[in-house]
Symmetry: C2
Subunit: 656 residues, 2 copies
């Protein structure tokens, strides 16, 4: 896709965006503030900009006066880029552009990086666990009485130098008719041993040549959402992908309530059935979507947290929530998919990621395997942020891990207008530091309905940056804006007025919301600090951060550092791998190298119980500030604030 | 048990019998003829003998006159031995005792030999496949968060130097509650790898100490009868044993009709269900009989012919009866018992003996393993005789095998009064060579009802020996006895008159019956000869014969050689192992050595298709004589017959 250069005046900021991007999103990316309240729907008419040169498409609706159109004005949120442009943003307040420039930094999200198939091959890591081989066998005759299975196995030995093959009973049951269906032309599926000493198993036979269709399913079993991918084992390509709510939700929102339910009579069976039903729904959807025959699916690999994994395998998780909080097992044997009730063929084996402890589960191990940090020299901080945040620090020589309960703030919980990153969620925001007028971008470019996790982080970061809130997360009461008000004894900021929303209510961010966010980021940051202390290294020693989880690709890294969620590190050294659990599941579908390494990796991962670490509570209390009580942990931010105080241009009463 | 010496006069023959044996059976064993028609019931009163010295018990009933009793006469069939005796048999005919001595040889049955547990241990062959270990684990606490499974595995590693343990999902599912039921005191069942490179699996955990109870089930899946044994894996002891009809019989008497039925819709499923039901019935019976808890059963091992094995595993046997007659597989993987529908605990694995070909199945391989011939230098002929007879020749270096269809004569089929070896079956006979009066012994010492296989062999052997039939199996028409007669155009010999039987009909042996026996023995003998020819050795090269099958322990070896069923060999070199299939199944339950060796043994066993061997039909036709057209194959018999002709004492018109 072609990228075009957009220059914003008077800021004189340039940004490159792909064709079709809206001007308002280009402005946000460039760090250019344009008032906009309707989320990009074109309803508020506030985002008027003057096109000085270049061509674009759209940008005109009835909120724009005819004479303005004639002069070259367009609505930024309705304009899509079709070429290089120079755009002038009307500066309607008295604040000069240089102030804007200082405060609004360009958005910088984590570079997305997942190890792809070619990389696997180049690095010699591609050791296919499942291969298909098409064979033309000599039919039996009066002089050749070889049994069907022996015929197949001998042919492998003779023509392909395959030795020590074992044959599954399912193959024995079907082979007589399969061989004779296409005149002894047959495709066999070979399951390679994970370790070299093992034997190759023939797990399936199909009439004719089906060697071109060798697929696997990878599943991330999340507490809230389950994701599935259909993968071509020959190319690594993802043929279809789908997420759906974990239907266990009707028995409990979170891990703890599920465990409680599992202890009731038939509770375990019900939860097991629900997760299987959810996975089957996803399998049905992606196989239909990719229009493939279920017979071609050779494997299923799965990853989930310890409780989800136990429920999936019908292992009661009750002792996970009883002192001293032990899981039943961390390694799980391969299981026949149909024995678990999965809607796959009889020959398919389900492989479930091992866990480290009750709170660092297979989803995190999968992330560590998927991102490859366990093979690398680089000292890496891996963070998977959701309701619970799990942290892994280490490299190819050692790894330490811990889990901390972040609470639901990042997923929209505990926030008055919090919501998931669905249509209408405010996902990005800029606020004019003088007028406090916001520029809102929503998922789906519709009128706002609520605030999602990444939007919340950016919002609090921006508010702290422009001095709307202090380092305790409290609004500066004396600021002169109608958006700031006290309602029911709680101070709040109006992000969008009722008539600009989908819900006909003012959308606000309250001090309680901010407090919840601070607790959440405090839990995560103090987890990192405590774990670093336990292994005796500092933030400065980290070579990189790898983010995983639901909102990692959207979060603005600078804002995440400003609020003290992420340690301060060069944003170029932060990458995002998306759903780490799913990427690990995909990797173990693709290569035995991962299946082999994972057992050693889980043994290598030392788990720390933060609640039993003396310093954790102190670190947590110290992190309940923006960004932190110890500004030395955030040297760049400290320097910026000190510069500003010296310049005296904008006072931050709380930035001491 | 004490043995007593019984001396028979005027024959001057001595025999040792255990206390409680009847005098008539002692006489038969000594080769002393006493007329007796009622099978040992005391009804005919013919078996009057004079006790010259010594003590016995019983022997008196109303068939004996008071003055005879006073003189010391007793009924031999009613007298049980309680001490050394001298017994005079009244010689009522003119034939002198020396003739009797010449003709009636003492009974010589095959020495029973099965390898016992101590022998396994002495020979270093005892490598237990399943072991139980009682452990007292440290419970978890605030400083020890090991997962339940890891706790168990680590304890094994630390205290017993056990490494590379794998844990089954069934164990993972039950371990949390099992550990906590008796305060972390637990018994684990370990399944050892058959090959050293494999891993030991923990397949079961039980609360407390159950290490004393480690059992297995061994099953012989016969076409007609299924046998099961409950075995103590620590002592090798058989705790209970049971045979029952294979309930598939209602769908077909023999292998071929079963295969035909298996091709019908749901036929395979029905046959599979029936054999599983039969096995479950046997398992239920023997576990109840031994009064043990099913939880203590750690394994089940099975052996059967190729078709029975395929039906047991639900593998359609249809191609076994279609040219070119190939089985589906010869090796079968271990299968979870519950997956087959067996009524055993979830942790039990079923291990099925491999086959060699469509007609030399796992039952024969099991026999070869059970008798140990595959480990021995001695050149052995192994014969399993039933409806089908299977033959294996070889030693530790090579083995050749073949199957021949003997027909049902040995199991009572195709014989007018044929029956199984049940109560009332004539199992042994002697015939007075002058009067042709018989001495009958029946199973259960009751009046005769029919003739069983071993009785039939002895009968025809005796008749041929005394010249009642010629070498074509035809009666000597001119002999002067009312027992010989023509009925419906068929010549027959009356073994028991109607009033001496349970069935109120004369029990006879017809020439058709004899013909069927000759066909059966001809098929088996020519199978042996053909197989010997194929491998280029002669009968004289054989070091020993091992017999297996239903009637092998009862058959009189000399008679079996006289009719040409068995090759002529020193009877001391013939042993009987009983149910070879069952004994092999028991062996593979007891030791991994057998499980390891068996794969190589099946590879080593070269299978010959007799029907495709040019010489087989010639050999068969040549064997349709008593004992054979080529008397050089029976040198001892030939010599005996020539001696007699020279002596001229008794003419054998047909013994040319």
């Amino acid at each position: 896709m072609t990228d075009y250069k957009i220059k914003f005046l008077p800021h004189n900021k340039e940004v490159k965006v792909p064709a079709g991007e809206t001007l308002i999103r280009a402005a946000m990316e460039a760090g250019v503030h344009i008032n906009a309240s309707c989320g990009g729907e074109g309803a508020c008419g506030k985002c008027r900009v003057l096109i000085e040169s270049g061509e674009l498409s759209g940008g005109i609706n009835k909120r724009l006066r005819d004479d303005d159109i004639e002069k070259g004005y367009r609505l930024a949120c309705q304009s899509t880029v079709t070429g290089d442009l120079t755009v002038r943003v009307p500066i309607e307040s008295e604040v000069d552009a240089s102030v804007l420039n200082k405060l609004s930094a360009p958005r910088q999200t984590a570079r997305i990086h997942t190890i792809d198939f070619d990389e696997l091959k180049e690095q010699g890591l591609f050791i296919p666990p499942l291969e298909k081989a098409y064979l033309e066998l000599p039919p039996p005759d009066a002089l050749d009485h070889l049994p069907d299975v022996t015929r197949l196995v001998s042919h492998f030995t003779l023509t392909r130098d395959e030795h020590r093959l074992e044959v599954d009973l399912t193959v024995i049951r079907k082979i007589p008719d399969v061989l004779r269906e296409e005149d002894f032309k047959v495709t066999a599926t070979l399951a390679r041993p994970v370790r070299e000493v093992g034997k190759t198993r023939i797990v399936n036979v199909q009439p004719g040549d089906t060697s071109g269709c060798n697929l696997a399913i990878a599943i991330d079993i999340g507490t809230t959402t389950v994701y599935g991918q259909l993968i071509d084992l020959a190319t690594g390509e993802v043929l279809a992908e789908k997420g759906d709510f974990n239907s266990q939700i009707s028995y409990g929102e979170d891990v703890i309530t599920r465990i409680v339910f599992a202890e009731k009579p038939d509770g375990l069976e019900k939860l097991h059935e629900r997760i299987i039903a959810t996975i089957n729904k996803i399998i049905g959807w992606i196989t239909k979507r990719a229009d493939i025959n279920g017979e071609c699916i050779s494997a299923i690999t799965l990853a989930g947290n310890t409780t989800m994994t136990q429920l999936f395998l019908k292992v009661n998780p009750k002792y996970i929530r009883r002192a001293p909080y032990v899981p039943t097992a961390t390694l799980y044997p391969p299981v026949r998919a149909i024995d678990l009730g999965l809607g796959l063929e009889e020959h398919v084996t389900a492989l479930v990621y091992p866990a480290v402890s009750s709170y660092v589960g297979g989803d995190i191990v999968a992330g560590v395997m998927g991102c490859g940090m366990y093979r690398d020299e680089a000292l890496t901080l891996y963070m998977d942020i959701g309701t619970n945040a799990e942290i892994v620090i280490g490299n190819k020589d050692w790894m330490a891990c811990a889990a901390c309960s972040a609470g639901p703030a990042f997923e929209g919980g505990g926030v008055e207008f919090g919501m998931r990153a669905a249509k209408g969620a405010i996902e990005d925001i800029s606020i004019d530091p003088i007028t406090f007028e916001p520029m809102l971008l929503t998922v789906g470019n519709t009128r706002p309905k609520g605030i999602c996790g990444s939007g919340l982080i950016i919002m609090v970061g921006v508010m702290f940056e422009i001095g709307l809130i202090n380092n305790l997360g409290k609004y500066e009461r004396e600021l002169d804006t109608p958006r700031l008000r006290e309602g029911n004894g709680v101070w709040e900021f109006v992000l969008a007025w009722a008539d600009e929303t989908q819900i006909d209510r003012d959308i606000v961010l309250t001090e309680i919301d901010i407090e919840n966010l601070i607790r959440a980021k405090g839990a995560i940051f103090s987890g990192c600090v405590t774990l670093l202390e336990e292994v005796g290294i500092g933030i400065r020693d980290l070579d990189r951060i790898i983010l995983a989880g639901g909102f990692g690709s959207y979060v603005d890294l600078e804002k995440a550092m400003i609020i003290g969620l992420l340690p301060e590190i060069d944003p170029a050294r932060i990458t995002f791998i998306g759903n780490g659990s799913l990427s690990g599941a995909r990797m173990s579908a693709l290569t035995n190298r991962i299946r082999r390494d994972v057992v050693n990796v889980t043994r290598m991962m030392t788990s720390f119980e933060l609640s039993e670490t003396a310093s954790y509570m102190n670190n947590y209390v110290a992190a309940l500030f923006l960004p932190h009580t110890d500004m030395n942990l955030f040297p760049k931010l400290k320097a910026r604030h000190e510069n500003r105080k010296t310049a005296g241009r904008l006072t931050h009463p709380s930035a001491v």
